[in-house]
C-alpha cells in the first residue's frame, strides 16, 4: 500500500524511474558493450545520417536522464514520498524500451552499429530484443500493479 505522500507524487515516482532506467541502460551499453567488450563500434561504415542524429540525441538525453532521475529520487526521499516498487517498475520499463529502440531501430533500421562483429548476428539480435521486451513487460506489470493500489 502506498501512503498518501507516495500516491500524491505517483507520477513523479514513475517518471523518475523511467528516466533513470533509460540513462542507466545507455550507460551500461556504453561502458560494457563499447568500452569493455569492444563489441559495439563507435561508427560503422553503413551508419546512416539519421543514425548519427538519433545516436546524438539519445546519448545527450540519457546523460541528463541518469543524473536528473537520481536527483528526483533525492527530492522524493526528502518529501518522504519515494515509492521504490513503482520506481523500479518505471526503471524496468525505461531499460526495456531503450533496448528495444536500440536493438530494433538503431541497430537494424539505422544501422548505427551491430551488436557484435564477425559472428552470426541472429542469435544476438534475438536475445537482445526478446530480453528487452521481457524486461519492459515486467516493468509494465509492476506499474499496473501499483496503479491498482493507488485506486484501492
Amino acid at each position: 500500500m502506498p501512503d498518501s505522500n507516495q500516491a500524491n507524487v505517483s507520477k513523479r515516482n514513475l517518471w523518475s524511474g523511467i528516466l533513470f532506467g533509460l540513462g542507466l541502460v545507455a550507460f551500461i551499453d556504453e561502458t560494457v558493450f563499447h568500452q569493455l567488450l569492444n563489441w559495439h563500434h563507435f561508427y560503422d561504415q553503413s551508419t546512416t545520417k539519421i543514425g548519427l542524429v538519433s545516436d546524438g540525441i539519445f546519448h545527450a538525453f540519457s546523460w541528463i536522464a541518469t543524473v536528473g532521475g537520481l536527483f528526483m529520487v533525492a527530492d522524493l526521499r526528502r518529501r518522504a514520498a519515494w515509492w521504490p516498487k513503482r520506481w523500479i517498475g518505471g526503471a524496468l520499463l525505461g531499460i526495456g524500451l531503450f533496448n528495444l529502440y536500440d536493438g530494433l531501430i538503431q541497430h537494424k533500421v539505422m544501422k548505427l552499429h551491430q551488436i557484435r562483429y564477425g559472428v552470426d548476428l541472429l542469435p544476438y539480435d534475438l536475445v537482445w530484443n526478446i530480453s528487452a521486451a521481457i524486461i519492459a513487460l515486467i516493468g509494465i506489470a509492476i506499474i499496473l500493479n501499483t496503479n491498482k493500489s493507488i485506486k484501492s
Binding site: G56, H59, G68
Partner: protein, 263 residues
C-alpha cells in the same frame, strides 16, 4: 595564399594577453573586495586561474603550436578553450566579484548595462547554444577550417568566438553569477540536451567524414576526443544544473499532512 606553417608568435601573444590580463584583474578585484566584505572564497580564485590557464594553453605555447599540425591536439585545445576553461570561469562568479570590488555607484551603472537587451538575449540559452554549436558546424563542415590555417585574423576571431560562445552558453545554463533574467529549468534542460546532441552528432560525423586536409586516423581519434571529452565536461554541467533544480524544488511546507485521509 600561404599556409601558416607555424603559429606566428604575435598571434599567440594577441590571444594570450586577454587571459593574462583577466587573471591579474581578478586577483586585484579579490583584494579590493576583501577590504570591504567577507573574504572571497579561495576556490573561486583557483577556478578562475585554472580556467584562464586552460585557455592560455589552447592559444599559446607548445600545445597551441602542435594543434596547428595535429587534429587530435586541436580537439584537446578546443575542449580546453570552449568547454573546460569557460566552465571553470563561470564557476568563479566573476560578475559578482566585479560588482563587490568597485564603488556602489559604478556597480549600479554596470548592473544597468547588464540589463540591456543585448545581455538579455545572451542569457536566453538558445542564442549562445546556436552560436556555440552552430559555429562548430560551420567551422568543421565548410572550408572555414582550412581557411583558418591560412589567415591570422580568421584564426584569432574563431578562437575568440569559441571561447566567448562557450562562456555565455555555460552561463546561460547554470546560474552561478548574478542573473537578472532567469529561464525555467525545463527550457534550459531542453536547450542543454539539444546542444549536447548537436555537439555529439558533429563529433561522430567528423569520424565518418573527416574535414579537408585531416588524415583519417587523426580525424577518428579527434572525433572520439570531442565526443567523450564533451561528455565529461557536460556531465559536470548536468550535475550542477540538477543540483540547482534540487535546491529550487525544496518543499516549503512539510508534506506529511493528511496521511490518514487518503488511506
Amino acid at each position: 595564399m600561404h599556409a601558416l606553417h607555424h603559429l606566428e608568435p604575435i598571434l599567440q601573444l594577441i590571444l594570450a594577453i586577454p587571459f593574462v590580463f583577466l587573471i591579474v584583474i581578478y586577483k586585484a578585484a579579490v583584494m579590493m573586495s576583501n577590504r570591504r566584505y567577507s573574504r572571497w572564497p579561495w576556490y573561486r580564485t583557483a577556478c578562475w586561474t585554472i580556467g584562464n590557464l586552460f585557455c592560455l594553453l589552447a592559444v599559446a605555447g607548445p600545445l597551441a603550436e602542435a594543434a596547428h599540425q595535429d587534429f587530435r591536439i586541436h580537439m584537446i585545445g578546443h575542449l580546453l578553450l570552449g568547454m573546460a576553461g569557460p566552465l571553470l570561469m563561470v564557476l568563479s562568479k566573476p560578475v559578482s566579484l566585479l560588482l563587490r570590488s568597485i564603488p556602489i555607484r559604478n556597480a549600479r551603472r554596470i548592473t544597468a548595462v547588464l540589463r540591456k537587451k543585448f545581455f538579455h538575449a545572451l542569457m536566453n540559452p538558445l542564442l549562445p547554444a546556436l552560436l556555440n554549436i552552430g559555429g562548430l558546424w560551420v567551422l568543421y563542415k565548410t572550408d572555414l577550417f582550412v581557411l583558418m590555417h591560412h589567415s591570422m585574423w580568421l584564426y584569432a576571431i574563431i578562437h575568440a568566438h569559441i571561447f566567448l560562445a562557450g562562456y555565455f552558453f555555460t552561463a546561460s545554463i547554470i546560474y552561478i553569477d548574478k542573473t537578472p533574467y532567469g529561464y525555467s529549468f525545463v527550457y534550459r534542460a531542453i536547450i542543454l540536451i539539444l546542444a549536447l546532441a548537436g555537439h555529439q552528432i558533429l563529433a561522430k560525423s567528423l569520424y565518418a567524414y573527416p574535414p579537408d586536409g585531416v588524415p583519417i586516423t587523426q580525424a577518428e581519434a579527434g572525433s572520439m576526443i570531442m565526443y567523450y571529452g564533451g561528455d565529461a565536461v557536460d556531465l559536470v554541467i548536468i550535475i550542477i544544473f540538477c543540483y540547482q533544480w534540487y535546491k529550487a524544488a525544496k518543499p516549503r511546507k512539510h508534506h506529511q499532512t493528511n496521511t490518514l485521509e487518503a488511506k
